[in-house]
């Protein structure tokens, strides 16, 4: 176990004229909770399909648990757990039947896999005889995770497990991932939700088949290159338009009830940015404005790194 659990080196994959993955490289360590963060079309699913041996890269090389994804596909398949983005269980089988089926495919039984899946499975065990189709979204997701775990894999690949799932179920799901990570399992997970990325050990920000940056969630924010302040006030839309016209405005984006204002002067004191903005907004007729210097988060950094996207008009 000297090499990292996942090693991806210059992997490229095209579909016709579209480049789904453009010479991607990264490593995920043993026992790490590694996140691929990016919107639809970033290439996350293609990457998972390559790592789980369902697709072959056009060029580049990738290993999972020191096994080559092209040459050693059968050896890899028995050692990875994979939860695809789309619900892929058998809707007309019951919860228990689905689990037994996936266990048997890997030559094991539900009983043998039980201890690993228990923290997740216990929450749906009372519905063991219900058809999978009749489960709620959150429960389907728990069943899918149980099925991906039942053969005791050494590494788990989860492709957007929380997409379309409500905020409560998402939080519960990430609590369960934290427990699995504690048990030593390596987990590679993708998500379009930037807030979830905070719960990973390290993340790769992905967009249009490229990796924009890889780091711990905290470091990603710390790399933000320009002074950032949050602005809070009434009539947010008018405030947003006014801030875009402020001197030295680099970008202005809504964040919840606040607006994030990035100044275009590198290393300029954030307190000064706040003071100047306060004066500017007072001149523009805005009263009761609150402005605070802040540290950038993942989403700030992601938007700053996004190439070739047209800025809001």
């Amino acid at each position: 176990m000297t090499d990292p659990a996942v090693v991806v080196s210059e992997v490229t994959k095209r579909f016709g004229a579209k480049v789904a993955l453009d010479a991607i490289s990264f490593e995920a360590n043993h026992g790490e909770l590694f996140g691929l963060v990016g919107p639809d079309g970033a290439g996350k699913t293609t990457l998972f399909r390559i790592l789980t041996t369902l697709q072959i890269p056009d060029s580049g090389r990738a290993t999972v648990l020191e096994l080559d994804v092209v040459k050693d596909l059968w050896a890899i398949r028995s050692r990875v757990g994979y939860m695809p983005g789309r619900f892929s269980l058998y809707g007309d089988l019951t919860v228990r039947e689905n689990l037994s089926f996936f266990a048997s495919v890997f030559g094991t039984t539900l009983k043998e896999g039980y201890s690993l899946i228990a923290p997740v499975y216990r929450q749906i065990e009372m519905f063991a005889d219900r058809r999978a189709d009749a489960l709620s979204g959150g429960m389907k997701q728990k069943l899918a995770l149980s099925c991906a775990l039942v053969h005791r894999p050494d590494i788990l690949f989860l492709d957007e497990p929380t997409t379309g799932v409500d905020a409560v179920s998402r939080r519960e799901f990430w609590d369960q991932l934290a427990i699995l990570r504690e048990s030593g399992l390596t987990i590679v997970v993708s998500t379009p939700y930037m807030d979830e990325a905070m719960r990973c050990d390290r993340i790769a920000l992905m967009q249009d088949g490229r990796i924009l940056q890889i780091d711990s969630p905290r470091e990603i924010g710390a790399r933000y290159p320009l002074p950032l302040v949050e602005v809070f006030g009434r009539d947010r839309y008018r405030l947003l338009l006014a801030l875009r016209k402020a001197p030295h405005a680099h970008s202005v984006y809504p964040f919840g009830t606040k607006l994030h204002f990035t100044d275009d002067r590198k290393n300029y004191d954030r307190a000064k940015v706040a003071a100047e903005l306060r004066d500017y907004l007072a001149r523009e007729g805005f009263g009761e404005i609150e402005i605070n210097p802040i540290e950038a988060g993942i989403e700030d950094r992601f938007m700053d790194l996004m190439p070739s996207v047209q800025r809001a008009s």
Binding site: G164, V165, A167, D195, R236, Y237, F255, G256
Partner: protein, 246 residues
Amino acid sequence: MTAVATQSAELAIVAHDLTRRFGNFTAVDHITFDVKAGEVFGFLGANGAGKTTAIRMLTGLLAPTEGSARVAGLDLKTQTEQIRHRIGYMSQRFSLYEDLTVLENIALYGGIYGLADSEIAERSASMLSALGLTDEMVSRLPLGWKQKLAFSVALLHEPAIVFLDEPTGGVDPITRRQFWEMIYAAAARGTTVFVTTHYMDEAEYCDRISIMVDGRIATMGTPLDLKREFDVPSIDELFVRLARPA
């Protein structure tokens, strides 16, 4: 009755005890709320809380079992057909035709909404320039652009109210914000926006929100008032507290 009639001039939606049962399961359980004209109203709830059923009733796709509602000043039970002409709808997943071009899609929906050819031509041109799009196959557009186009098409017939069901799922963070700016712009022109989302930061972009739990509206108010009332730092916290199943 007269009170409701006079109010409905400023109220885009008035729902009273709206209920829908499927067999012995009550999906929507006596919900009462109103949405002001020009308001951005966030309709939140966990999966299975009854949001989709409520939206299907409000858009005239599903008859209520009990209760009443007025949508755009029209009675949901007796004026369903007129309501359909006064509302726009954009679903969770992209709802345009992938194998038609942008203009063909606009023309198709314009025709369905009964717009004259001259109106379609005029609005097509202004829509393309506002979005910065050229006329190409819809299948070739990135997801974010498709969603912005779908929203514009939902506004094509200048509806009083537009219903958006998770319009920003899977969309990158910049496009997500551009989408919300389009929502603000529509609201500023007087269109009422009724929107669902799983992004809790987006909930805070709304003028008012409601949170549905088990078929009922558990709470409703401005994001700021609700955070004060429940003493929570974010709507995310509030949502988790209210919606976590027992």
